[in-house]
């Protein structure tokens, strides 16, 4: 038997979460140390997985399977492919970054880091699931850490509203998806939750047309699809920095990933039928999100709406159902995850020192916090899709796919990117350049841990922009599987 590396990957944060709860409250350094150690193990394992995945062979590798409840065909069944591996790597990156930027949490750190680890386990579990039940189980495992972390450690003004809104929106989504998933289970007649078996169930056209919206929209709500996106900015803004990073960086990808895996891959004909609607909604996402981001005066809301806008590109990529579009979507999931995690971490660093997120009250911070300024500019360039950064590698194929599917979508979406350039430059100018207001005279530079986070995330984005071959072939191998399903249906 091979080493159960995916199980170790999923259960490391879970075990850390439980052990953390047993540690005495006063041992704050142990608590942080353990959380960081767990994060680093996850990151190391994900890098190892990424490096040893056999791209030529493709398909789901590192599979493990244990019966969970045979009476209902539920099994613990994990495996990763070219789509999920980059996301696993992304999770590792963001978990470690999240721990590092939360080093100064004073209120009940034991619970904080434990819940953070639960959230980490939840996202890793979803990305690795090949069993529909298990996917659901881990998907919903995120409910309580998300809610409690936002309302307990979030920003006092909006945390109760933002936390509840986010949790209920996502719960509504997951309940819709649950109904759809159960319909798939019972409708297949196979009495199994094994997604690889369900892919070949050959659902009737009417069945697919009926249930695809439940599953796809249910999960895509977590991906921030218009008009169910409004939880995202409110929730992200209310959340503490590490959670904003995980929510926008990884959780939104969990939604998109599950929509792809369960919606498009299990009900491909349904996807074809409804692609036009997704295309329209996602295009609205891109343009509307960018416009709203443009007029925000709260630094964090700008980033919150930018996430809505960028997730639109992922969904456009899905809806094209084409090779280019799907590769772009896969790349964009990773690229946006890293970028938005970086953005939110910088917003958090600025807020911690300036004690305000109001853009008009900020200014000239490049002199005070050069690392933050550089990091933000790198993130900004990624978000505009500049060549040489990961955003280009991700967005360009999406536009290619969109052009082939519906040129007008591509045109409108590119317009959205122009607006993106607008709000990014505005923020950079207003926050990082110009005069330093008097109140901010005492602002100090970021800590070493913050620099590690900024540096690490920025290097990944630039590295990917310069050497796209580090990830594109991997994603392409995953897309092959999807195209086979779409072609075969």
């Amino acid at each position: 038997m091979q080493f159960p590396i995916l199980s170790v990957l999923i259960f490391t944060p879970l075990a850390a979460a439980l052990i953390l709860l047993l540690l005495p409250e006063e041992k704050k350094n142990w608590i942080k140390g353990l959380a960081l150690a767990a994060g680093i193990i996850v990151l190391a394992l994900s890098v190892w997985l990424y490096a040893s995945y056999d791209i030529a062979a493709g398909g789901y590798q590192f599979q493990e399977r244990v019966d969970w409840l045979p009476a209902l065909g539920i099994s613990y069944f994990v495996g990763v492919d070219g789509i999920s591996l980059p996301l696993v790597f992304l999770s590792g990156l963001v978990i470690v970054s999240g721990v590092l930027v939360s080093w100064n949490v004073h209120d009940r750190p034991r619970e904080f880091f434990s819940f953070l680890m639960f959230l980490g386990a939840s996202v890793l579990g979803v990305f690795c699931s090949l069993d529909l039940f298990m996917l659901f189980f881990f998907f919903e495992l995120a409910v309580f850490p998300k809610y409690l972390m936002i309302v307990t450690w979030g920003s006092p003004k909006t945390r109760e509203y933002g936390g509840m809104k986010l949790t209920l929106y996502l719960f509504i989504g997951s309940m819709l998806a649950l109904i759809g998933a159960l319909a798939i289970y019972f409708g297949s007649g196979l009495r199994t939750f094994d997604m690889l078996a369900l892919e070949n169930a050959g659902f009737a056209m009417a069945f697919q047309r009926l249930w695809f919206p439940f599953v796809f929209l249910g999960f895509a709500i977590l991906g921030g699809i218009f008009p169910f996106h409004s939880w995202a900015p409110d929730g992200h803004v209310a959340a503490p920095t590490a959670i904003s990073m995980l929510l926008a960086g990884v959780e939104m990808k969990v939604g998109a990933f599950a929509a792809l895996r369960v919606g498009i891959m299990l009900l491909p004909e349904g996807a074809r039928q409804w692609a036009w609607l997704i295309l329209i909604l996602a295009t609205v996402n891109v343009v509307y999100g960018a416009f709203i981001a443009l007029i925000q005066t709260d630094f964090k809301y700008v980033i919150g709406f930018s996430s809505v806008s960028h997730m639109g590109l992922v969904l456009i990529g899905f809806a094209t159902l084409s090779r280019e579009g799907l590769i772009g979507a896969g790349m964009q999931m990773f690229s946006h995850g890293v970028m938005t995690a970086l953005f939110f971490s910088i917003v958090g660093m600025v807020y911690d020192r300036a004690h305000t997120r109001d853009i008009p009250k900020l200014g000239g911070l490049a002199r005070k916090m050069p690392w933050a300024a550089i990091g933000f500019i790198v993130g900004g360039l990624v978000s505009m899709g500049m060549p040489g950064f990961s955003g280009f590698v991700a967005e360009f194929p999406v536009f290619m796919g969109a052009w082939r599917a519906a040129p007008v979508v591509a045109v409108i979406a590119i317009l959205g990117i122009l607006i993106t350039a607008g709000y990014i430059f505005l923020v950079i100018r207003r926050v990082f350049f110009g005069e330093v207001p008097e109140e901010l005279a005492g602002v100090t530079d970021v800590t070493v841990k913050d620099k590690i986070v900024i540096g690490g995330l920025a290097v990944v984005m630039i590295g990917l922009g310069v050497f796209p071959s580090l990830m594109v072939p991997m994603v392409e191998s995953g897309v092959k599987t999807i195209l086979a399903i779409l072609g075969g249906a």
């Binding site: 709860l21 409250e25 969970w68 409840l69 009476a71 209902l72 539920i74 009940r108 034991r110 619970e111 659901f136 189980f137 881990f138 919903e140 495992l141 409910v143 309580f144 809610y147 409690l148 309302v151 307990t152 945390r159 109760e160 936390g163 509840m164 949790t167 209920l168 719960f171 509504i172 309940m175 819709l176 649950l178 109904i179 159960l182 319909a183 289970y185 019972f186």
Partner: protein, 486 residues
């Protein structure tokens, strides 16, 4: 199938009942012998006795899945009866342990004795196979519960709870009995397993059949506190001593469910179209009313009462679909619900003991005052809300699945709609526990051992039922298989 001879198998079939009677008698004697604080061991004695009975039953008195009729057709000794008996015994044992923190009951021998007699009644309800036996069992369950709800004579609320429960209970018993009498009148038999055949042959008009089924359902709806027969629940839960409220909301509800499942599936298999829709309506009403009224409650006990009405609604889905899978789903849900709600009332009892109040405000900042209880609250509330990795998630998944399996999509949609409302107020409680500032920031003292043990078992149950499905699912399967023997 019914033999007149007396065999040892017959004794084994009622081993738990014999044990309960013996234990109740022992308790009454010990109560006379022990004085003052020594009596605090009464709870331990009850729990230990119940554990011994469970152990003996598991070792020596396990029935075959389908089982058979015993005692002249009065009882059916099968898996459904057995699994539910174990649930009742466990529920009673946990209640006895929780009682240690409730001042008004903890040193009173008769409290524990009444608890045991009520458990005896439930135990018989789970296996009754004859209308007369069933009715007697229901009364044996209820009468001690009336007394328990009104146990604290100095407390007006408790007395009011007792009287209210008695009046509602007597009324619904009368209606149930009327239904039974009509059944007997139509068929000439009280034997549950012979009813359906005679019922078919009779050529009775549908309207009358519907009326009979309706009357029977009223009686059970009261036991499981389904809307519109739920009015007693909030007042009784609030007024009764907290451990009693916990017992009422779990074991007593489970007893109602097992009897309901058996009666509708065994006695009216041909009329399932009729009762299926009736129960579906009850389920819908319970979920909607329970959840909506829970939204506005300020007292946690009342909130839990409304929540338990809603929970009964989810469980009724599994009965309404009239499939074997539906019964499995409801049974699993019941097990999950039993441990969860007992844990919830356990915590309420302890907080009430320390702050003298069960208002939501008394729970503010509980996570600071007692971090472990804060974590336990996460498990409890999310289990009630149906979120993994806690027990309630799998229960909800199963009942919604059973509705979809049967093609009753609308019922599943009503269910998820309610699950969302439900999650809202469960999250509000968690927010109170984690975020709100406590009025008194001092740490809560350490609770006594028996309470800790009981809460520990419940929370462990919530976690174990939440991911280790296999054993419990197979128990539920046995229950369903033994009820649906046709």
């Amino acid at each position: 199938m019914v033999s007149g001879e007396f065999t040892s198998a017959m004794v084994l079939a009622i081993l738990p009942e014999i044990g309960l009677v013996a234990l109740a008698a022992i308790l009454l004697v010990v109560d006379l012998l022990w004085r003052g604080e020594t009596r605090r061991y009464l709870g331990w004695l009850t729990a230990a006795g119940l554990a011994v009975i469970m152990l003996l039953a598991i070792l020596f008195a396990r029935p075959a899945v389908e089982g058979g009729l015993m005692w002249g057709g009065m009882l059916r000794f099968d898996s459904a009866g057995f699994v539910f008996r174990m649930l009742f015994l466990a529920g009673a044992a946990l209640t006895a342990l929780y009682a240690a923190v409730t001042e008004s009951v903890r040193l009173r021998g008769e409290f524990y004795a009444l608890l045991l007699v009520s458990t005896l009644g439930m135990s018989l309800m789970a296996s009754a196979a004859d209308l007369i036996m069933l009715f007697l069992a229901i009364e044996t369950t209820s009468i001690p519960l009336y007394a328990l709800a009104g146990f604290v004579l100095r407390d007006q609320k408790s007395v009011e709870a007792g009287v209210k429960y008695l009046l509602f209970g007597a009324m619904s018993s009368a209606i149930l009995l009327y239904g039974f009498s009509l059944l007997y009148g139509f068929t000439g038999t009280t034997q549950l397993y012979n009813l359906s055949a005679t019922f078919q042959a009779g050529g009775i008009p549908t309207i009358l059949i519907a009326a009979v089924i309706g009357l029977v359902l009223v009686g059970f709806s009261f036991k499981v506190s389904a809307v519109p027969f739920h009015f007693w629940a909030p007042d009784v839960y609030q007024g009764a001593p907290t451990p009693v409220a916990g017992f009422l909301s779990t074991a007593s509800k489970a007893a109602g469910f097992v009897a309901l499942m058996r009666v509708v599936t065994v006695a009216f298999p041909e009329q399932s179209a009729l009762w299926s829709i009736m129960i579906a309506v009850l389920a819908t009403a319970s979920m909607l009313v329970g959840n909506y009224l829970a939204l506005v409650q300020k007292s946690l006990k009342r909130l839990l009462a409304y929540s338990s009405i809603a929970q009964a609604g989810y469980m009724l889905i599994g009965v309404a679909v009239d499939t074997e899978f539906g019964l499995v789903a409801s049974t699993y849900y019941l097990m999950a619900y039993l441990v969860t709600n007992l844990a919830a009332f356990g915590i309420v009892a302890w907080v009430e003991h320390n702050t003298g109040s069960d208002d939501l405000t008394a729970f503010a900042g509980l996570s600071r005052r007692a971090p472990a209880l804060g974590l336990a609250m996460i498990a409890i509330m999310l289990s009630l809300g149906g979120v993994p990795p806690f027990a309630g998630f799998f229960g909800k998944l199963l009942v919604f699945g059973s509705a979809i399996d049967k093609g009753m999509i609308w019922l599943a949609l009503v269910g998820i709609f309610n699950a969302i409302i439900g999650l809202y107020y469960y999250l509000v409680i968690l927010k109170t526990v984690y975020v709100n500032e406590p009025t008194d920031s001092a740490r809560l003292p350490k609770a006594n051992l028996s309470w800790q043990l009981a809460l520990g078992i419940c929370v462990l149950g919530i976690l174990v039922l939440g991911f280790w499905f296999q054993p419990f699912y197979s128990f539920a399967q046995n229950v369903a298989a033994s009820i649906r023997i046709y």
